[in-house]
Every structure is written in structure tokens, then in C-alpha cells.
């Protein structure tokens, strides 16, 4: 399975905010064991989708030249569950953005229900340091995640606003 936990961006304001959606399919492996007979999305994966949305938002500011790593989640609260067949909406806003890192606040809705909110701290690694730690591969901004953003930009170029996902 590919490590992509968002399906598409539906809104993107560079340096400020991003919204992405994720449709949950019963075919996803995690539903088989979490839990048998009661398929709900594991909370860490919900958080991963939010972090991918926020990470792309932060990385785009410098056109993905710097490596951005999820350094810390100072706060996360889960208030509901998401089941197969439902759609998640990830909304993220940049609270702080500096040379050394960025702070993003986000919410996750399942349909209209708020099911999670979190604050995520991203650190910028300079190139020499990140090469030491992670090698040349930029695992945060894999080609697939950037591709999703590219698709969103294309959609935005064709229409005055990014189309809101049905849900």
C-alpha cells in the first residue's frame, strides 16, 4: 500500500491554509484488523492524513527545497470515529512559519462531524543535516504527494475555485 493518506486537495492558499479530502474504502488493509466486525480508521492514520496536508502546505512555501519533518504533535484530540464508506476533510492553517520550522493547526471532519483536531510542529532540516539523517530521499514530499498538489493546481487553473468535494 502506498503511504498517501489524502486523495485530493480541494483548497490551497499558499503560506496560509490547505484543505484535502480522503475517501475511506473498505478495501484498505487497516480496516481488516481495526477492528474485525467494526471497521474504524485508526487514529494515527487520521493524524497522518492531517500531517500530510499540513506538511505539503509548509513545504510549498519554499517550493519543497527544504526538507520538512514532522517533529512533534503537542496537542491532538479525537472526538469521533470514521468508518469505511465515509469521507474525511482535513483543514490546516499555518499558525507560525519561520526559518527553523512551522506550526500548523488542523481539524478533521467526517462528513459534517468534527472527529479530530491537532497542532503539528514541523522542523526544517538544512540540506547537510537532512542528508546525514535521511539520505537523499525526501520521504516527506514523495512524488505522489506533490503530484496531488499539482493536480489541485491544475483544477484551480481551470475553475475560479477548487471544486469542493462531494460529501
Amino acid at each position: 500500500m502506498r503511504w498517501v493518506w489524502i486523495d485530493r486537495f480541494t483548497a490551497f492558499e499558499p503560506g496560509k491554509s490547505a484543505t484535502a479530502t480522503k475517501c475511506l474504502s473498505h478495501a484498505e488493509d487497516h480496516f481488516a484488523e481495526h477492528f474485525p466486525g467494526f471497521p474504524v480508521m485508526p487514529a494515527p492514520l487520521i493524524l497522518e492524513g492531517l500531517a500530510q496536508t499540513g506538511g505539503i502546505l509548509v513545504g510549498e512555501v519554499n517550493q519543497f527545497r527544504e526538507k520538512v519533518v514532522l517533529a512533534k504533535i503537542p496537542f491532538a484530540k479525537f472526538t469521533g470515529e470514521a468508518m469505511a464508506g465515509e469521507q474525511l476533510t482535513y483543514k490546516t492553517d499555518i499558525l507560525d512559519l519561520k526559518k527553523e520550522g512551522a506550526v500548523v493547526r488542523g481539524t478533521v471532519h467526517c462528513g459534517t462531524r468534527l472527529i479530530a483536531e491537532a497542532e503539528i510542529f514541523f522542523a526544517h532540516l538544512d540540506h547537510s543535516r537532512s542528508a546525514q539523517v535521511f539520505g537523499d530521499q525526501n520521504f516527506v514530499f514523495s512524488g505522489e504527494l506533490q503530484h496531488l498538489l499539482g493536480l489541485a493546481k491544475l483544477a484551480a487553473a481551470k475553475t475560479p475555485e477548487l471544486p469542493a468535494a462531494a460529501g
Binding site: A71, P74, L95, D96
Partner: protein, 130 residues
Amino acid sequence: MTLDEIFPRVKTQLVDALGADEDDVKLTSRLQADLNAESIDFLDIVFRLEREFGLKIDRNELFPESIFQGDPKLIQNGVLTADGLDELRTKMPYADIAKFEKNPKFELIGDLFTVELITKYIQSKLNQKV
């Protein structure tokens, strides 16, 4: 602004950044040894203090990382020399060096990073702003 006025605001930020109990955050608390701060927490704390007090904070000024660079004039056999202590006083003017200098082992420098150090630093910055 007095230290008594600044401290509760610093405390709130440390509780949020470190997930610490309010009762555990005292002026004398050491960030690492008492409040379990890790390296990334120092950056988080700087960001939070900037937002809370509307200040621009140089991370290396508040939490200097590499003061000695292995210079034998400043540090020998893991212990700070007189020159090393002077350097520390210059680089960390808000730290309580008096206690540290009785046993100036390099490995104990982390104990200088206390809640009081942050509070005094913020007070100094706010005074400069005025």
C-alpha cells in the same frame, strides 16, 4: 513588567509545549532534568514565547547550543576553565552561574536551562522593546 507577571505566562506556554503538570513548573525547574524537555521542545518553546509575548527571539541567544566548540582554553577534562565560565556568563547572562561554578562540569550545563532563565530573558527582551 515584573517577573511575577511574566512567570505565569511562561508557565502556561511550558505546560502546553511539554505536557507538564502546572504544579511541576516552578521558577527553579530545569527544563530537561525536571520537565523532560527534548531538543525539539526548545524550538517549540521559542515559537510559543514569540507568539505569547510578541517578541522576536533568537533561539541561540536564549538556548545557546555550541558555546565551547571543544576549545581547550574554555574546557579541560570535561570541566569548564575560568575562561570557560567567563564565556558562559557572556553567552548566558540570564543563567544562575553562581551554583554551577562550584562544580562546573560540562555535562551539567543543561541544568542552567531553567524556567527562571526563560522568565528573566523575556523580562529583558520586553524592557528592550519599551
